[in-house]
């Protein structure tokens, strides 16, 4: 990075931090700290919801995911708009009427304290862990580029956002998210434009799409039909798992995860909350599609340019043993040869696509033959990359050889002009800050409202709770940084966050569904069904029977079914159930 990049990056950070601190004024009680006195308009709710969900992981991992696995990851978001509708109908009016600070407050009134506490605990566990990953994601960039120690980078990374989050609470979080999102969207458009702009002369955007498509990277919709096959349930991203599993995951995330519920609880009316959520349902899928498209275009770009043997080049440099370094050099030479052949063949494919007879008999055959050869060369390149990973592993058994998260940033470092590199780096940081700040705010609100104020110190002056809220925000910031120190072993970060969410979300959503729709169920039945479901979900995950997205649906449905069973099994349950349901 040049000095211009450093200036751009530091200036962006400074603007955000000062803006956040400026917006921190006027916090006098818990109401203003966690809800901003319920004063936010729909557009701030929308920015806040998007900014909370779209972390640095989204911008780092998603292009890499498209590069390696294609664009089918977008299907994961198909259930989201449907979930937005259900939340607008069932959740939003209820939360607003009850004037709750957290979603879990409602569960004590509906069931009992232990159900509220269990749900709050599951949320704190899951959100605390996944926020740690969200800190680690941008930290790897700095450590990779500047050669900084990753542990210190995590600490450095988490520190800045804690300043304005501790001081300003929800208000500072929402206003900084708005500014961050503007910068992020502008930067990602510029990055996408640059990928196309840097394609060789004569290769158009449409050609790049054809190259990516012929290599299977534009597989946006995948529709397996045989439900008796094991692969149907194992396949992570299909239309069905996206619509059904994605729906349950989005319903849990936006309906019961305080990091999101806390955003739309700040709206000045039900209408503003609903508009924010519904517009999120409209923009999320196209937005994710465009981010993934950058990854597919990057794949096309690297068909004309020599891709590195590993996108995490630091790992290659760490192989210092003479014997292993010699082997690696041999692999690199063969890889270069394959890359050169790929480049030539890709140009040939572009020529074939440009010919007038491209869609006729001979043209189609020509394209199919090029595609077949290209596929073979791609397999060879993948094998060589695999060989390089083995060498890296032999040199350092603890090394993380998954370079998916490095693909986008590797392109940024090597191909973008000065100034833009700094902006793109700043964007990754800002995206991280937006989601981490909201998470810390929600972790603190749940700890203070559902545990501290409810069970530890119920009677205290407002000023005391405000101070405690700030201390808990700081505590969770430190906790998440600690988790970030171990996040390097989790593979694709975007997937790790979602897997973690899926382990708990189903159960949490199930409790809320029981609360909303199974009126006869009482607290003990809801509590024990949730405990049992969580154990079963962890067992299913360990057995690797189904893809993680299905865990949300299974967890939710299992909690609802077991709640009925428990209601009948527990002492006095039948009597209560009958009494509650006289019909």
């Amino acid at each position: 990075m040049g000095s211009l990049d450093w200036w751009v990056m530091c200036l962006t950070f400074l603007v955000i931090i000062l803006y956040g601190v400026y917006k921190s004024r006027g916090q006098r009680d818990v109401d203003s700290y966690f809800l901003d006195n319920k004063s936010m308009p729909w557009y701030l709710i929308l920015f806040s919801i998007i900014g909370t969900q779209a972390s640095a992981v989204t911008f780092l991992s998603a292009p890499g995911q498209a590069y390696t696995d294609g664009m089918r990851f977008v299907q994961y978001y198909f259930g989201l708009p449907i979930a937005m509708i259900v939340i607008c109908i069932a959740f939003v009016p209820l939360f607003h009427r009850l004037k709750v600070y957290t979603a879990y407050q409602f569960l004590e009134d509906r069931f009992d304290l232990k159900t509220r506490s269990l749900t709050a605990f599951l949320f704190l566990l899951q959100r605390g862990m996944s926020t740690g990953i969200s800190i680690y994601a941008p930290a790897i960039i700095v450590s990779s580029i500047l050669g900084w120690n990753i542990y210190w980078t995590n600490i450095f990374m988490g520190g800045f956002l804690i300043i304005y989050t501790v001081l300003g609470g929800t208000k500072a979080v929402a206003h900084t998210q708005k500014l961050q999102l503007f910068i992020i969207i502008a930067g990602m458009f510029l990055a996408g434009y640059m990928v196309v702009h840097l394609l060789p002369e004569g290769v158009s955007f449409s050609d790049a799409l054809h190259i990516a498509g012929k290599s299977g990277k534009l597989n946006v919709i995948t529709t397996p039909t045989n439900i008796t096959e094991h692969s149907f349930w194992q396949d992570k991203y299909t239309l069905w798992s996206g619509l059904i599993g994605g729906f349950f995951l989005a319903l849990s995330y936006f309906g019961t995860d305080q990091s999101q519920v806390g955003r739309y609880l700040t709206a000045k009316s039900i209408k503003e909350s609903r508009m924010g959520l519904l517009l999120n349902g409209l923009v999320k899928v196209p937005m994710q599609f465009l981010i993934l498209l950058i990854g597919a275009l990057l794949f096309a770009f690297y068909q004309f340019q020599p891709a590195p043997l590993s996108f995490n080049e630091m790992q290659l440099q760490k192989v210092t043993d003479p014997v292993l370094a010699g082997r690696l050099e041999g692999v690199q030479e063969r890889f270069n040869q394959v890359s050169a052949q790929k480049q030539a063949l890709t140009m040939h494919l572009v020529d074939a696509l440009h010919q007038k007879e491209a869609s006729k008999g001979k043209g189609v055959q020509n394209i199919a033959a090029s595609r077949e050869k290209l596929s073979q060369l791609q397999n060879q390149a993948d094998l060589l990359r695999g060989e390089a990973k083995e060498i890296i592993k032999t040199a350092d058994p603890a090394a993380d050889t998954n370079d998916t998260n490095y693909i986008f940033l590797n392109f940024v470092i090597h191909y973008l002009p000065k100034g833009l590199i700094g902006l793109l780096f700043a964007i990754i940081f800002l995206a991280a800050w937006g989601s981490i700040a909201a998470a810390l705010n929600s972790l603190a609100s749940t700890t203070v409202i559902d545990i501290y104020k409810r069970s530890i110190r119920p009677e205290a002056p407002e000023r005391h709770y405000l101070n405690v809220s700030r201390w808990f925000t700081l505590f969770w910031g430190v906790f998440c940084i600690a988790v970030a120190q171990f996040a390097g072993k989790l593979g694709s970060l975007i997937e790790a966050v979602n897997v973690l969410g899926s382990l708990f979300y189903g159960t949490i959503l199930g409790i809320f569904m029981v609360a909303f729709f199974q009126k006869s169920i009482r607290g003990a039945a809801a509590f024990w069904s949730a405990v049992l479901t969580e154990l079963i979900i962890i067992l299913i995950y360990n057995l690797d029977v189904v893809s993680f997205l299905w865990l949300n649906a299974i967890g939710c449905l299992l909690t609802m079914i077991l709640a009925y069973v428990m209601q009948w099994l527990l002492p006095g349950g039948q009597k209560k159930a009958v009494k509650a349901n006289p019909d």
């Binding site: 607003h96 009427r97 012929k214």
Partner: protein, 67 residues
């Protein structure tokens, strides 16, 4: 269907409110506020679903075209 769902949620809201919250019944909460562009919220819900369906179809055509 959306109408039924909406009504069910409304029922729940009413019931839960009376059980849980000490809020006065007349307190304005904005639930009946008219949404922008459509007469009812149902219009917005249908609009979101239609856009989703259109996107899925477009993505399917996109996949087939470039495959």
């Amino acid at each position: 269907m959306a109408e039924n769902k909406s009504r069910t949620a409304e029922d729940l809201n009413q019931e839960n409110t009376s059980r849980i919250s000490p809020l006065p019944e007349q307190e304005p909460c904005g639930n009946n506020e008219r949404p922008p562009f459509f007469n009812r919220w149902r219009g917005w819900y249908q609009f979101v679903l239609v856009i989703l369906a259109v996107l899925i179809v477009l993505f399917y055509l996109f996949t087939k075209h470039y495959d």
